[in-house]
């Protein structure tokens, strides 16, 4: 059972890493700026999911619980029982920080792309390399 679990978890982690590789292909190779932006979002989200997976744990109970107490603890024993089943809250807190900062950079990027599109009439990055684009518009 533990063997199968290890294989499944390894597959999930490898899948995230392959996802990161595909996303970086999109960033480097695709000429469309919009597709580059989408690839960057997939890239950062794959890393975020990988970070959350690090906080996962195996418990004696069937499933681990959210790091949220479902009701006010009445005795210190309640808190100890909660610590037995709860997953690690720290990666989740870091990931929400990472998401906010990723969102901040993405909005500026999208603003640039929108202006690029309105200026050149295309999101193709090669349009800006064209020497005589001034006459084209």
């Amino acid at each position: 059972m533990s063997d199968l679990l290890s294989l499944a978890f390894t597959t999930a982690v490898t899948a995230f890493i392959v996802n990161i590789a595909i996303a970086s292909y999109g960033v480097f190779i695709r000429p469309s700026l919009l597709k580059k932006a989408i690839s960057i979002i997939i890239f950062s989200d794959s890393i975020n999911i990988l970070a959350i997976a690090i906080g996962f744990r195996i418990t004696e109970a069937q499933y681990p619980s959210l790091p949220v107490l479902s009701e006010k603890p009445k005795t210190p024993g309640d808190i100890k029982a909660f610590a037995e089943v709860s997953v690690d809250p720290l990666p989740q807190a870091f990931v929400i920080t990472a998401i906010v900062i990723g969102l901040a950079t993405t909005t500026v990027l999208l603003g640039l792309i929108i202006l690029y599109y309105k200026h050149f009439g295309t999101t193709d990055i090669r349009a800006s390399l064209d020497e005589d684009y001034e006459e084209a518009i």
Partner: protein, 267 residues
């Protein structure tokens, strides 16, 4: 089409083969059974009335980490979001809001059903913000959900309907600045109160510490309030909702409104 399927299958096979090799080679990963020490400290103290100097009285451990144990970090993070808003404003410098260009609203039926959906979205976002310390949720998530209202409003009712509803750039920027100032003032609140009685206090302090007796309200009647965590959540909700709406309004602007931006000169 066939090429896409072939690529998908070969990538899947690559993933499986890689993980199989790692697993057989003994390099496979397995999540740990025990919590790490730092996580243990957080989980044991997030709501712990028997350890008053370390607790934050927040039932949600993630929110406790975000706004209490690593509060300064999050204040800077919200400053980063504000920097992004400033960046977008600098990119679109010279844009003017124009009305009566064209109203491309959707049909009446769609508008009515969207109104019901918008009400539900607003309720969900408010409950996410106000219960962020009790259930999964928090200020940032609630603000992002609220920004969906702006996005839906632009698509269904047209951007000019948003202008007439008061969602103008200037107003949104004002709300955003006010929320940032409120967040900073709540973080600095412990200092000002303790200056008066000449004691010790820390920036973004929530509950009593060993050498400081300052404490934010831990409960509202019988409901845990988690001190400053609740106020930070609510204000961050307003801040993020205003910031994202501000950015969305800029993104949805028409060509006539961006005339000065595209010509590369100021108005």
């Amino acid at each position: 089409m066939k090429k896409n399927i072939a690529v998908a299958i070969s990538l899947g096979a690559l993933t499986l083969a890689l993980s199989l090799v790692l697993h057989v080679g003994g390099l496979g990963v397995l999540p740990p059974r025990a919590l790490r020490n730092l996580a243990q400290t957080v989980v044991l103290n997030t709501y712990n009335p028997w350890n008053e100097t370390l607790t934050s009285y927040s039932l949600n451990a993630v929110t406790a980490v975000i706004w209490d144990y690593r509060g300064i970090d999050t204040i800077f993070e919200t400053a980063v979001l504000f920097a992004a808003v400033t960046g977008v404003a600098a990119l679109f410098q010279g844009a003017v809001e124009k009305v009566e260009l064209r109203r491309r609203g959707m049909p009446f039926m769609l508008k009515t059903s969207t109104k019901i959906a918008l009400l539900l979205i607003a309720l969900v976002s408010i409950s996410l913000a106000f219960h962020g310390h009790l259930t999964p949720g928090g200020g940032f998530q609630a603000g992002s959900v609220f920004a969906v209202i702006t996005a839906l409003g632009i698509t269904v009712f047209s951007i000019e309907a948003l202008y007439s509803a008061g969602l103008r750039i200037k107003n949104l920027m004002r709300v955003r600045l006010m929320a940032l100032a409120l967040i900073l003032s709540i973080a600095l609140l412990p200092l000002t109160t303790l200056l008066a009685i000449n004691g010790i206090a820390y920036i973004a302090q929530n509950q009593v510490k060993e050498d400081s007796s300052f404490a934010m309200p831990a409960a509202f009647f019988n409901t845990p309030l988690a001190g400053s965590v609740f106020f930070f959540n609510v204000i961050e909700f307003i801040a993020v909702a205003a910031a994202l709406s501000y950015i969305l309004v800029f993104f949805a602007m028409r060509r006539e409104e961006l005339e000065h931006v595209l010509r590369g000169c100021r108005k």
